[in-house]
């Protein structure tokens, strides 16, 4: 039966479980919500300097594990655009937006929805809608991305 399910979906499910386990360790161990934008953003704007080591070590783990796993599972192509204007605009929007909203896919999406937080659910609905409309306009209509 597993053969009927695309391999990508199974990798997605397995990878998702690891992401959730990471969030569970961060919550049950340190009592913190695992949100990537908050962990990085707090280091940038100074609000998280009191816990800088915890944040830095977390980010080290995030960068390091793909390096460790690459020899075992092979390289992953990210297929990111090389359009600098798009990259800069998207980076600014993601940076400003996630800090205004106090969360991104990990904080609002994974950690918020799993505790049935209304804020997390509403944020996730809005960013998926906005992302869907963006892809519709820029890919299907304008053909830019």
């Amino acid at each position: 039966m597993l053969n009927a399910i695309p391999t990508d979906w199974l990798w997605g499910l397995g990878g998702g479980l690891l992401i959730g386990l990471g969030g569970a360790v961060f919550l049950l161990g340190n009592g913190r919500v695992m949100g990537a934008s908050g962990i990085i953003g707090g280091l940038v704007d100074g609000t998280g300097w009191g816990s800088w080591a915890e944040r830095a070590v977390f980010l080290l783990g995030v960068v390091l594990l793909p390096i460790v796993l690459t020899p075992a599972v092979g390289p992953v192509a990210t297929h990111a655009t090389e359009n600098v204007v798009l990259l800069v605009a998207a980076g600014l929007l993601v940076g400003i937006g996630t800090r205004l909203a106090n969360g991104c896919t990990s904080g609002h999406g994974v950690c918020g929805i799993s505790r049935l937080s209304i804020r997390g659910i509403v944020a996730t609905v809005f960013y998926i809608m906005a992302g869907g409309l963006t892809v519709l306009i820029f890919r299907q209509i304008l053909g830019i991305i």
């Binding site: 499910l13 959730g20 977390f58 990210t78 990111a80 990990s106 804020r119 869907g132 963006t134």
Partner: protein
């Protein structure tokens, strides 16, 4: 020290999960958002897989304390402010344009090549501007 060990394990699991799930591949993320094109449901499997252990963890927090001491985060007030909506819309547009969000942007730094560094630099600049933009937004258009 214990706190740092948990942080490293959590970050490692997060990075491994993002890497193995395919979520650092921008075509899979944009494919999920491309409802009217060649739709790719992988992201829903990732989200579902991540929410399961996380929901168990939230349930487990009841009546307990974090292993390093202190308290678990209290639920935020269920207030849907303007910043939550405006911020999420901005985030969604940026996410759709390139297919990267903060977690995968970090996880892919070792193998994504220069476009990821450009995106990351702009995202960090966005983090730096955000407090100022928030206060200007609050002055120009008070939320209440």
């Amino acid at each position: 020290m214990q706190r740092l060990v948990f942080s490293f394990i959590a970050g490692g699991l997060f990075g491994a999960g993002l890497f193995l799930s395919g979520m650092t591949d921008t075509t899979k993320v944009q494919g999920w958002l491309d409802v009217f094109g060649n739709w790719d449901p992988t992201l829903a499997f990732v989200m579902g897989g991540a929410i399961l252990p996380m929901a168990a963890a939230w349930t487990f927090t009841r009546g307990r304390k974090p292993l390093v001491g202190g308290d678990f985060p209290t639920p935020p007030e269920p207030r849907l402010g303007r910043n939550l909506v405006v911020g999420s819309l901005m985030f969604g547009i940026g996410w759709g344009l390139v297919g990267l969000c903060p977690g995968p942007a970090i996880a892919s730094l070792s193998y994504g090549g220069w476009p990821h560094w450009v995106f990351l630099s702009a995202m960090l600049a966005g983090f730096a501007f955000a407090p100022k933009i928030r206060s200007q937004l609050d002055t120009a258009l008070p939320a209440e």
